[in-house]
Every structure is written in structure tokens, then in C-alpha cells.
Amino acid sequence: MQFEMSEERRLLADTLNRYLSENYGWETRAATAYDPPYHSPKKWADLAELGIFHALAPEAEGGFGGAGFDVTTVFEALGRALCPEPMLPALMAARLLLAADASIDGLLSGEMRYAVAVGEADAPYGIEGLATEARQEGGTWLLRGRKSVVYGAQAAERILVAAQAGAGLGVFEVKAVDVEVAGYGLIDGGGAGEVLLDDTPATLLIGDADAALQDALDFGALALCAEAVGVLDHMFETTLDYLKTRKQFGRSIGSFQALQHRMVDLKTEIEQARSITILAASRMGTDQQSRSVSMAKNLIGRTVKLTAEEAVQMHGGIAMTWEYPLSHYAKRAVMIDHQLGDTDYHLEQVMAAYRAA
């Protein structure tokens, strides 16, 4: 057993953390996250140049990473900086393009922004019950349906869409210029959009795509877990600092035992959240991948809510304000549970294995 980060990943983390702290500080983030296009094309190009996208793909495909721990290294750093760039859809698109044996050069260079459109209003999580349909007309695939809250869709050039295609689910590539995307900002920063498919022409990338889609969703959920760990660490450290400096009744509020015990419990839960994310990362590519990711996303879901609420509560009023960065971390933390399956959804995936017991 070995719990040290490899030299390569340490370098990756250092590079990304340094870039973000020097170029994506709080002012920049605040000015970027809540106004169209809800990310910074300039910073996006920087990240590509730094080779961050390459860390999301295996060497055989032109990258230099692509394993679970590469993904967690990148997303933990993004979470720490509360970075609103649409890196998550890029990761998920990379998984789908690789499964399709399609080129990911445009993705790696940062020239092509992708969104991945799976969830729908009545089937928000997972791949069961999707209603969007694909049909062929004169050799062309046409898509019809609505994909809801597609992260990064407001800024994407290409959208990869899961749709029912006869026998099963297929993955289709749609050009953003061919489809109506109603974009909007998100309450925790960053952007998304409704993708309104109305006989939209599309290219079939993957037929019989259940496994490929599940894999993309697994990697996406793992990335969210890692992002959450970065967010959790920041919230905890900020709260700890605040408790040490803020005075009340003539003493630092961190001297109150009730808060001390809650902080210890919080730290314990955050370490558990880190551990389960490590576990899931280590199981990517094994037959335990999906269940381990569901375990992680469930525990992360419990921990982000607890930590966000406790961090705000222990701060008091100041954390209720837009001006104070912690409030945005708290929003991001809570809203991570609304992406790619919430606490309950993933608990049900974990429970499913018992049925066979």
C-alpha cells in the first residue's frame, strides 16, 4: 500500500494550484461566474495550454493521465479555487469520445468546448427512462426531445446527446449551431442550458451506449466528489480561521467547547469524504467502479450539506452575504448534490447490490 501522490500528479496539482491562485483569484472568479458566458474563454485557453485537459485522457489517446487519481487531482484543485470553468463536461466528453474511438484533439487543445446532455426533467439522474429520441431520415440522424440543465451547454461548440435509438441508447454529436440552447447562469456560479432538440441533425458516435454513458457518468461523479473535497477543505479552513479570530463575549468564539466539538466532528467527516473519494478513484476501471463511485457520491452528498450548513452557522451573519467568499463555497457544496445523482439516488445504487444477496 502506498498513499503518496506520484511525482507526476504532484507536479500537476502544483501547476494547476499555482495557476489558479495567481490567475483565477477571488475577484476574477466573482467577475466571471455569474455573467454570460459564465466562464472565461481566456482562462480556458490558459488551462489547455498548461496541459490540464491532457491529464484527463490516457497516453494512448494523446493525453498523459486519464486514471481515477488524475481526475481527482485536477478537480480537487478546481474545487479549492471554486473555478467555474466547464471542465466537468470536458472530462465526460473525453470518456465518450474515447469510447467512440473518435478524435479528442480538439478537446485536448481546448479549441472545442463540449457539453454532455444526458438528464431530462423527468429522468434527471442516470440513464434510465430517458425520453429523447433519435430517428434516421435519408441517412441523417434527427434528434427530438429536451435535455435539461446541461452544464456548460451555454458555452459549448459540440453537445454529446444520449437518445433512444431503436434498440437502445445511443450517443450523438450535435453542433451547437444546429440546435437551440437556452443558456443561463447557476445559483452557485457557472452556466448551463436547456438543449431543445427539434429534429436536430446529429452524428451517431456510439450505438448501444449504456456502458459508455455509465462510464462517463461515473467519471463525472468522481470528478464532482474530488471537487467537493477541495470545496470542503476550503470551507473548513476558513471556518477554523474565523473561529480563531472572531471575538464574542470577550473571547474568541473558537474557545467555546460546543463549537470545538462540532469542528472536530466536521473534520472527521471531511477526512472520511476524502477517503471514500480515494477509494472510488482507485476502483476506476474495475468491476467495482460504479458502485464505489455511488458510495463516494452518497457520502460526499451527506458531507457537503453538513459542512456547508455548519460552516455558515458557525460564521453567523457574515457567511450569509454575497461579499464573503465562503457563502459561494457553501452554495457550490450544496449544489454538487444536484449534479449527476444526489445522495438518495446513489444510496439506491449502493443498495441495489443487496437484492442479489
Partner: protein
Amino acid sequence: MDLNFTPEEATFRDEVRAFLKAELPGELSDKVLSGHTLSKEDMERWHAILNGRGWLASTWPTEFGGTGWSPVEKHIFEEECCLAGAPRIVPFGLHMLGPVLIRFGSKAQKAHYLPRILDGSDWWCQGYSEPGAGSDLASLRTSAVRDGDHYVINGQKTWTTLGQHANRIFCLVRTSKEGKPQEGISFLLVDLDTPGIEMRPIRLLEGGYEVNEVFFTDVRVPVENLVGEENLGWTIAKFLLTHERTNIAGVGFSVQAFEQLKALATQQRRNGKRLIDNPLFAARLSEVEIDLEAMKITNLRMLADAQKNGRPGPESSMLKIKGTTIRQALNDLARRALGPAAAPFPSEALEGNLAIAPAGHTRNAARYFNNRKLSIFGGSNEIQRNILSKTMLEL
């Protein structure tokens, strides 16, 4: 033991219901139920309607225009208003300053200010908290120095709710630095038009604007605006904090929120099934339903005590803690129930054609975040626990 309303109470409830049905404008209740921000005009409109019916001053004696309701009647009125989606009565003039003036104010102050509260001429806001004095209110530093017939105020207040609509503010200020921190505090009435006052908005985490900072620079206030005696303002502050706070448990809000949530969960689909038929979600829903059913009775039991003893005991702090916990749990579930549709930043643009979330639920996440304040403001739940530990448990 009889949990049923007396015939008189039942009649009163029917009267309230009929009134709400007839007089509460649908535009207002729609806004309230969907978590939209009410405009100043919206709030004034409802204030005037209630004043017209004589149902505004539920915390005042009848001689000053109060309703003369028993605690149970007050409870009935508040619960029915919540259920109907009536706007919340802005409490600063009516339920906070009013009782203070009636108890501590001069004849002239009563005669001048009380009618203006009722008819809406004055909109009061509160100048209590300061950046360094929230839960520890007695450490406040905004000073008022006597200069002839005036006090001269310098300092800063914060968390002044709806100050942007107000024309007046009542303040706790430091008039002496001698003795214990509690001993040099006075209670002043200030006209917001006085030169030297600046009100700055505080944007809240979810993007809304309901609280303010207020800066005082050499603000001259006539001495007749002092309420009670100089340096004895702490008595008034305590009176306000321990005075019968109406609807402290927020049961009505929670009942209304629960009904909305249940309806939402029957509408929402998760991969072909109704969310309400999902056992994990249904379990969460039923646990909070049970907590709320218990809270209704706890609230009534404490009301009955208050009716008997003239004022609520320290136990009412338990209502604050549990009541806010339940409301926050309901907000949490209303956010969860939306899934990804909770994520869009609330904006008018999103509420029309796009209909990402069901009508009336586009602000569920915003409301969840905003209502984290419930356990912080008005004496944080930690402060309530400290109080209860001392007064109720004698630890």
C-alpha cells in the same frame, strides 16, 4: 385535555378564513408562496388591508388600537395567514417598536408615533446589530454624545432588514462607557432623513437584497427622541428580546411549506416514478411531517402556558430552535425535490417559457440558502441553547 378549538375559537378561525379569501390579493399570495421578493408597495397594500379590518396590531392593548386577541387567537390568525400565503407583516414598527413605546414611551411619543405605525405613515427599521456586536449585543459601540438638545450619533449598524423601505430607525446606542457594557446603552428614535445617515445594501448569498448597513456620521437627533431613560436602554433591549415573540416557531410557515412540498413531490418524476413514491424521499418527507405535527402541539402547549402565566417561559427558545430546524428541513427537501432544476439562478427570464422547475418552485434553492438565516438571526440557535441551559436547565 382537549385539542379542539372552542366554539368561539372555531368561529374566529372561520372569520379569518373568510376575510383572507375575500381580501388577500392573488398577486400577493402567488409571490409569497413561490418565494418571490415583495415590493414595498406589495407590503404596504397588505398592511393597509389589515389596518382597514382592525387586524393589524395583535400585540397592542386595545386602547391603542390593538386587536385584543388571546394567544390562541393570535396563533389562529398567524397560521391562517401563512397557509393562505399572506405577506408577512413587517414587524419592526408594529410588533417591536409599538410595544416598546406603549411600555416605555412618553405620552407624546405614544400619541405621535403609534397612529403613524398603524396607518403606514412611518416605516420603521431596526438599528441593533453592529459588525462586532451580533450575538454579543451588549458590546455595541455606536455612540450618541449629548450636545445641547441633541444627541450626536457616530457609528455603524448592520443587518437592518428592509431598511431600504424605511423612513425611520430605532437604535441602541452607547451613551456611556462607564460600568458594565450593558449599563451605558440608550434607545433612540431616528429620522432617516437626518443628514449624516447612509444606508448601503448588503447582497445576500443567494443574490437577494433585504438587509442593509447603516452608517452614522455626526447625526444630530433631538433629545426628545430618547425612549425611556438615558443609559437604561438595555432594559428595553431585553424587553424586546424576551417579549412575547409572536409565531416564534413559525408553525404556519412550515405547515404551508409542507403542503407545497407534498404537492411538488407528487408532480416530480424520477425516471418514470413519482418522487413521492420513492421510499427514501417519502421517508424524509414523513419524518419531517411527524416532527411538524409534534411541533404544532408543542407550540400550542407553550401558548397555553403563556395564556396562563401572562408571558411565555424560557422554554419558548426551544420553539425557536426546533421551529427553525423544521423550516430549514422543509426548505432542504424542496430544493432536493427539484434535482438539477434547482440549480438555475432565479431570474424573471427563467420563469416564463423555459419552465425548468414547476411553477412556484423556481426559487427553492434560493429560499433554502436564504433561510439559513433562520437559525442565525434573532439570536442564533447557539445563543438560544446557552439561554436554555442557564434558565431552563440551570446548568
